[in-house]
Symmetry: C2
């Protein structure tokens, strides 16, 4: 996984935290790693990055040899405030710091990775990482955001052309294509390169398009959302982690992987930062998967004539 | 089924119709009847109601002995305009006409019906219909709307206390309970009487609550919504029709019934008025059920240890 490591300051209508571990790659790695996958994180931090925060990752077996530490540099910092609906937010501050000159180097023993997650970053940085990959049959999952679509479209198009799956939200899909209908937007994105498209709809769940098929899942209903930060990244991480266990990645296996992603996102929002995702174990994961199964699965026999 | 029969004038961003067959009971009956159920419609019309429109119902075997024709009276008329999103609408005109003095009479041979749908009407009228029912083990499905919640709450509470299932939309659930969270709203409505609660979310699908469980379905994605009128009523009709085929109505059988309701609603919105729902046959229904199955169902073995 290639992406940001960060410190976040987060305000919600109910609480506030000043400086906690964040960053897309952090959430992606912590989620994917639950599948006991041999994974490496490619990112950059400043020398203000705390050792205990590095240990949160290494203690779970996540390889950090691809994380560059810039001496005298400061770690990427993001600050935001969530609105009453907990579904929209205002960015209060963005300090790119060491991210400004980030040039990712994929560790040599990971260039042939089977599954690769490219987190939200400048498209030129994303492309540079992808160009280091050597496996012909790898599966590349891409995240992006509206800012790159609006200001670096040419760079972004080059990246999109090279990935197998793109995972963006409904607003971003509309910006990227100019289509209001998500079905039509997905068709257009498909023509840009990716075989599979995931469109996230926040509290309304997510859609997967590919092979001429569509799959739709709701979000897992959470009694009290504490902090939505990292939900999309945990989603991508959980999905990617699951894919490493699959012999043949196709629409059907992606369906189940998308459910795992949804379940990982539902954990993340229950607590501030990475706390909840870090605490996930086999039991809590299987229990929630079972709840999600009951939430969405029904009995129907297509061979039963009912009329 | 007890409810309105009407003539509708409908405007959408794309087209306009002046006076077409409508009314909650019409949609409910046409959908439920697809299950070859012996069903009776209880309603009122004026002597302006066209014979071909009556024949649309009787030709499918729907019993109209409970439909009163008021000589010299005019049929209920509704006119509305849908906004660009096709999800919200403005009522342009409502002429209650014969509905103003509607006193429903359930035909004697239908008072012991197993499944009863009470469409959106004045709560006092709904109550009067329910009090004519004699079967102790019947299953009553109720629809209502914000107007009755805001102005006739006391009457409505008496009706809600007597039904097994209430089917309302998210905005109505919030008005009825004052709760923003749909999970909390459902709990509160459950305490008012109904064992099962369905909350419809328009293009985002629907939720079923009951027996301490939750079931969530997306809407069936439609390329081009032509006219959303009657979607909720077809939903209720399809659901109720399915229930007549079930020996024991419980949460699991309601799940599948809710899927049938969703599929019937998806047909309705594809054309103006009752045209699409009327044309549904065994093949088109089974085909769309199969598509919905593929849209929402995934493979997961709860006994598979994955971590």
């Amino acid at each position: 996984m290639v992406g940001t490591m960060a410190y976040d300051a987060i305000e919600t209508p109910h609480a506030k935290v000043d400086r906690i571990l964040g960053g897309a790659a952090t959430y992606i790695a912590l989620a994917a790693n639950k599948f006991n996958v041999d994974c490496s994180l490619v990112s950059v931090v400043g020398d203000d990055f705390l050792t205990p925060d590095l240990e949160r990752l290494t203690s779970q077996g996540i390889d950090l040899s691809g994380v560059e530490t810039v001496q005298g540099g400061k770690t990427f910092f993001w600050s935001g405030r969530y609105h009453d609906d907990m579904n929209t937010r205002t960015t209060l501050d963005t300090q790119l710091n060491v991210l400004e000159n980030f040039s990712p180097v994929v560790p040599e023993n990971y260039t042939d990775s089977k599954v690769v997650v490219i987190g939200n970053l400048h498209p030129a940085v994303q492309l540079s990482a992808i160009e280091q990959l050597t496996a012909e049959d790898n599966f590349i999952l891409l995240d992006s955001m509206n800012f790159w679509m609006e200001h670096f479209r040419e760079d972004l198009d080059k990246v999109i052309a090279k990935v197998d799956l793109i995972s963006i939200n409904d607003e971003e899909a509309r910006i990227l294509t100019g289509e209001h209908s998500l079905v039509k937007a997905a068709k257009q994105i498909h023509a840009m390169g990716p075989k599979y498209i995931i469109i996230k709809k926040g509290e309304h769940g997510a859609l997967l398009f590919g092979e001429g098929k569509t799959f739709s899942v709701p979000a897992f209903p959470i009694d009290q959302v504490v902090d939505p930060t990292g939900a999309g990244d945990s989603f991508a991480g959980g999905l990617a982690g699951r894919l490493t266990q699959i012999e043949k990645i196709d629409f059907d296996s992606l369906k189940t992987a998308l459910v795992y992603g949804t379940v990982f996102a539902s954990f993340t929002v229950e607590k501030f930062g990475v706390e909840a995702i870090q605490a996930v174990d086999k039991n809590t994961l299987n229990e929630r998967m079972r709840s999600f199964y009951e939430l969405t699965q029904f009995n129907w026999n297509p061979n039963n004539d009912i009329l």
